[in-house]
């Protein structure tokens, strides 16, 4: 994983509430045994019409959304299935951050473990972002703030260990493996009990 310190991008907005992980990537694309190449399936049934052509009305298909790395999603983003294919698809498509007023627990954990910044903002801040699609933002991971074009800031909290991993580009497995002795001790204490 590459360190993630700052993101500077315009936003794409999908205002729908409760965007579930089936919506992010439908189940029929989950038969893969790889992590890569899932961007093509991202929001598939929104992006494409029944005949396979892109739906010009879908927000991400509009020219203004091209190259956006920040997705602002409606409340309760990422609910539903635990499929990690959802953050893999978002990353592969080119997103590096998801902002919402509420993000489902499993999706949020999965996203952060893959270097996709998942940030929860206040309802007022979230509403403002929903109402201003395409705005330029700078997200500072270490500082825990989002800078607006006028210099205003939205601050956000991030679980400290997840932030540490994002900033240094390390994964959590390394930390767990470092504590193998603790695990053995736990297992032996239990056996003795």
């Amino acid at each position: 994983m590459k360190p993630l310190t700052q993101i500077h991008s315009r936003t794409a907005v999908l205002a729908h509430e409760n965007i579930d992980t089936d919506r992010i990537i439908p189940a029929r694309f989950l038969t893969t045994t790889q992590r890569s190449g899932l961007g093509r399936a991202l929001f598939h049934d929104w992006r494409y019409r029944a005949d396979g052509s892109p739906d010009p009305d879908f927000a991400l298909n509009r020219p203004a959304a091209a190259g956006c790395e920040i997705l602002v999603g409606g409340r309760n983003f990422g609910c539903g299935s635990s499929r990690e294919h959802a953050p893999w698809a978002l990353l592969d498509y080119g997103f590096r951050a998801v902002l919402s007023s509420e993000i489902a627990d499993i999706f949020r954990g999965n996203a952060l473990k893959n270097g996709l910044l998942a940030v929860v903002l206040s309802e007022a801040e979230h509403r403002w972002l929903l109402e201003h699609p395409g705005i330029e933002l700078t997200i500072d991971v270490a500082g825990g703030f989002i800078e607006l074009p006028d210099g205003g800031r939205f601050t956000f909290e991030l679980e400290p260990f997840a932030r540490h991993c994002l900033l240094s580009g390390v994964d959590q497995l390394g930390f767990l493996l470092q504590h193998a002795a603790d695990i053995t001790r736990f297992e032996e204490a239990r056996k003795a009990a």
């Binding site: 729908h16 509430e17 409760n18 579930d20 089936d22 919506r23 439908p26 189940a27 029929r28 989950l30 038969t31 893969t32 045994t33 790889q34 992590r35 049934d45 029944a50 409606g74 409340r75 309760n76 609910c79 539903g80 299935s81 635990s82 499929r83 990690e84 953050p87 509420e102 489902a104 627990d105 499993i106 954990g109 999965n110 473990k113 893959n114 679980e159 400290p160 260990f161 540490h164 994964d171 959590q172 497995l173 930390f175 767990l176 493996l177 504590h179 193998a180 603790d182 695990i183 736990f186 297992e187």
Partner: protein, 470 residues
């Protein structure tokens, strides 16, 4: 020690390292369930890093999501939806062999939906921590186990270290009192709860279901309730183990035997929230007020009763949901024509679910315009149901009797509807396109599903139950 909740007790007993401001807790995992969809990338990671599965004996694999529910042909070929689905299953077979993990695969008497076979084998036990790369792992909380879904990266963590890094969730007590009326099942109860607290009502929390109406439930009913905790945003649901739990587990293949059984039960009896334990939140539900319920929208919180008019859309999202569902506010959902009835999934595919539906269907026919799929949760359930002749009841009624698997719950294996079709489904998610692009899903109990199959439209089972009684 101060009063503790059941969550506190299980949490404390599994701390390899306590959490600090800088790092989450390291939580030991007693049972890791593995299936074909969310594990291949994790095994690849282990292989690339030269790691082994730390505790193969605490790991149990099966395949259920990508598997066909039609039997093999004369040459033994299984009718997979795609070559990729077939190779995903083969990949799990290869990974299980390579890493020494027990697999309930083809030919095993215990293959089935991962959340059905864990309890069935007695692998799921009170006080355990249980994880799986699947959000419906919450099902196992019915046994008083802390059980939750994880992503594939975490599947790798557990395979390699038997541990997970977790911040402790908050606790939410849902106390259910009152006696449910005729035709009101555990499914109606959990749909009512989700409709009450909302699809994000449990976010960040573990729900403990308690109270006399919960204690009165069978284990299969408790599993239905805990299963859909995730649909309220909670990662886990918990029910304190009691005599019902112990009676269910006794004698199952992986349950403790002999003196070990007595010791286990003695320990399990302590697994309940202390009388004066404090929860972060509390909700009370009166089961006597619940009527047979269904969803009418595109998330599991859009719940109504069969006899009530569909509520008016409260916002643009709900308006869109009603349009997608082609449902009119102000009119009851009952009477809406049905194309497919799906009886199955980790929510409602157990023997008692099949019996409940079969009791309504016995001597009746599935309406001519309706296709009904009955998909038992496991090979074991399939055998047990066939021993009782339930397959004959379903087949005589015109329903299809299939092989065990997740099937149409998420439609990964090709069991899907056509655009615009309406499915009355005993599964857990009614998201847009979940059962196929453009397919409309109405979540319901096995009783509502069977009644709707007979009537050819969304129907109240109480009419049929009254007839049966008379």
């Amino acid at each position: 020690m101060s009063a503790r909740t059941l969550l506190d007790k299980i949490w404390d007993a599994h701390l390899v390292r306590a959490e600090t401001a800088a790092t989450p807790a390291m939580l030991y995992i007693d049972l890791h369930l593995v299936h074909e969809v969310t594990s291949p990338q994790a095994f690849t990671e282990l292989r690339e890093r030269g790691l082994k599965v730390r505790r193969p004996e605490r790991t149990l694999a099966t395949f259920d999501h990508s598997t066909p529910t039609l039997p093999p042909d004369a040459n033994g070929r299984r009718p997979y939806a795609t070559a990729e689905a077939e190779s995903q299953v083969a990949q799990l077979e290869a990974n299980a062999r390579e890493f020494g993990v027990e697999l309930q695969g083809w030919g095993s008497a215990h293959r089935g939906i991962v959340h059905v076979i864990g309890p069935e084998l007695g692998a799921t036990q009170p006080g355990m921590t249980i994880v799986c790369g699947d959000s419906h792992t919450s099902t196992h909380g019915a046994f008083g186990a802390l059980a939750f879904g994880i992503g594939t990266t975490e599947v790798g963590h557990v395979l390699a270290t038997q541990c997970l890094l977790q911040r402790k969730p908050k606790s939410l007590a849902i106390t259910v009192s009152g006696k449910p009326g005729t035709g009101v099942t555990a499914k109606d109860l959990i749909l009512h709860i989700i409709g009450t607290i909302g699809v994000n009502g449990g976010t960040g929390h573990v729900i403990e279901y308690r109270g006399p109406a919960i204690e009165a439930l069978s284990m299969e009913e408790r599993m239905t309730v805990c299963n859909m905790s995730i649909e309220a945003g909670a990662r886990a649901g918990l029910i304190a183990p009691d005599a019902t739990t112990f009676a269910y587990l006794k004698g199952r293949p992986r349950a403790p035997q002999g003196a070990a059984w007595d010791a286990a039960v003695a320990a399990w009896r302590t697994l309940k929230s202390d009388a004066d334990a404090r929860f972060d939140r509390e909700v009370r539900i009166d089961a006597s007020q619940i009527r047979p319920s269904v969803t009418y929208g595109t998330h599991p919180g859009m719940v109504t009763t069969l006899d009530a008019p569909v509520p008016a859309a409260a916002n643009a999202q709900e308006k869109r949901a009603l349009e997608y569902m082609r449902v009119e506010a102000g009119k009851p959902l009952a009477g809406t024509p049905v194309d497919i009835v799906f009886l199955g999934s980790c929510t409602n595919s157990r023997l008692s679910d099949l019996r409940a539906a079969a009791n309504l269907l016995r001597g009746r026919r599935v309406a001519a315009r309706v296709r009904m799929l009955v998909v038992p949760g496991s090979e074991q359930i399939k055998r047990d149901a066939e021993k009782e002749g339930l397959h004959d009841v379903f087949r005589s009624a015109g329903a299809e009797w299939r092989e065990a698997g997740c099937s149409m719950c998420l439609g990964m294996n090709g069991d899907i509807g056509k655009p615009g079709q309406l499915v009355v489904s005993t599964s857990n998610r009614n998201f847009e396109g979940r059962q196929g692009p453009g397919v409309r899903t109405v979540l319901a109990s096995p009783l509502v599903a069977a009644a709707s199959a007979i009537a050819g439209c969304v129907a109240d089972p109480r009419e049929f139950l009254t007839e049966a009684a008379a």
